[in-house]
Amino acid sequence: MDLITPEFGLVFWTLITFLILLFILRKFAWKPILGAVSDREDGIRNALASAEKARLEMQNLHADNERILQEARAEREAMLKDAREMKNKMITDAKDEAQSQANKMIEQAQVAIESEKKAAMAELKSHVAGLSVEIAEKVVRQELSNKDKQLKLVEDMLGDAKLN
C-alpha cells in the first residue's frame, strides 16, 4: 500500500527541487536558448525573404535590360529604315531634278534651234528673193532686148492660157 501512498518528504523535496530547477533553467537556460533559436530563425526567415526580394529585383532588372535592349534594337532598326528611305528619296529627287533640268535644257535648245532655223530660213529667203529678182532682172533685160522674143513670150503665155 505504501507503494501508492505519496510520502510527504519526497513530495516536499520534489516540489523544492522542481521549483529551483524551473526558476534557474528558465532564467539561465530556456530564455537564452529559446531566444537565440528564435533570433536565428527570424534571421533565416529574413535572409530568405531578402534573397527572394533580391531575386525579384534581379528579375526586374533583367526584364528592364531586355526591354531597353529591345527598344534600342527597334530604334536602330527605325533609324536604319529612315536612312534608307532618305537615301532613296534623295536619289529619286536628284534623278527627277536632273531629268527636269535636262528636259528644260533640251527644250531651250530646241527653241533656240527653231528660232535660229527660222531666222536662217528668213535670211535665206530674202537672199534667194533678192537673187531671183536680180537674175530675173538680168534675164528679162536680156530677153526683152529684141521685139521678136517679146512677142514670142507673149504668145507662149497666151498659149498656156488657152491650154488652161
Binding site: D2, G9, T14, F18, L21, L25, A29, A36, R40
Partner: protein, 367 residues
Amino acid sequence: MTLSTFKRTVFTVLFLSAFSFGFAKDTQEGGDDEKFDPKEMILHHVKDAYGMHIATLNQGEENELHITIPLPLILWTENGLTTFMSSEFHHDYNGEVIVEKNGQRFVNVHEKVYVLDEGATSVQYDEEHHPTNAHRPKLDLSITRNVFMMWVSMILLFTIFLTAARSYKKSKNGVPSGVGSFVEPLIVFVRDEIARPMIGEHKYRKYMPYLLTIFFFIWINNIFGLIPILNGANLSGNIAFTFTLAAITFIITTFSGNKNYWKHIFWMPGVPVPMKIFLMPIEIIGMFVKPISLMIRLFANITAGHVIILALMSLIFVFKSYAIAPVSVAFSLFITVIEVIVTAIQAYIFTILSALYFGMATEEEHH
C-alpha cells in the same frame, strides 16, 4: 547519444568517488538457507530508501561488505529536529538496529523510520507486520536515495543546459556548439511538436519553461532509474514524485483557465439544459481525473518496467540455477531496451498532456 552516455558514466563515477563509502558488516541477512522472496526484493528496489545501496560483496560470508552512500535523515519529532546518517542503521531495515538520538529511539522498518514509544526496547508487530509500539515521526524530510538522485539529476540538468546556454552566448551568429547543438533539437522538438500544436501559436511561449523543465526532469530521472548500479533510484516511478508534478500541472491549468474553460466545465455551451446539468459533475470530476491520470500513468509505467526487469532477474534465484541466467539476462536486456524507449515516451506523454491541458484551459471561444 554516445556523448551523453559517456558524460553520464563519468559523472556517476565522479559522484560516487566523492562520497565516503559506508562499509559495514551485515547483521541480519542470513546465509544460503534463507528463502528468497522476490516480492520483497522487488518492492525494496522499487520503493524509496534512506541509504544509497550500491552493492553487497561476499554476501553471506564473514567479511560481507555493503557498499553504500550514507544519506542524512532529517526528522521532526516530539523532541524537535533530529538528524543522523543512514549508515547508523547498518543496512538494517527490519527494525532490529536501534539508533538512539535526541532522547529517542529510531528503527528502520522496511525503509520507514519509526520512533519507539517511551520505554520500548524493541519493535513489536501486529499480524500485518505493522509496528504496534512505535510511530512515525511528525515530519520525515530525510534525504532519501530518491531525493539524492533527484539532486544528482538537477546538477546534471544544470550542467547540460547552462553549458548549452553558454555555447549560444559564445557563438556570434547564434549557432551553438557541443552540448548546445545536442540539446537544441530536443528543445525545438518540445516547442514545435508539443507546445505549439497543443497550446497555440499565441500563448505557448508562457508555458515553454515549465514544459521544457518537466520534459527533461522526467526523462533524465527515467534514465537514471535504468542504470543498474544506482540500484533502483526509482524517482519517476515513485508516486510522490509524479503526484507533485501532476499537482503543479493541475495548479497551472486551473490558474490559466479562462472564461471559456470554466464555462465548458460548469455550463457546457451548445447542449440542452438537462444535459448541461448532467455534464457539470462529469466535467468537474474530469478536472481532477486529468492530473490523476498523469500521476498514475508515469508512476505505473516506470514502476512496471522496473518490476518486470527485477522479476526476470529473480528467476535465477527462484530456480536456484545458473542455467536460467542466460534466459533471464536475454529477456531483461530486451525489456531494458524497451524501457530506454519508454523513458523518452513517458516524458513526452507527460509533457504533451500537460501542454494539452494548458491548451484547453486557454482556448478561446470559437463559433
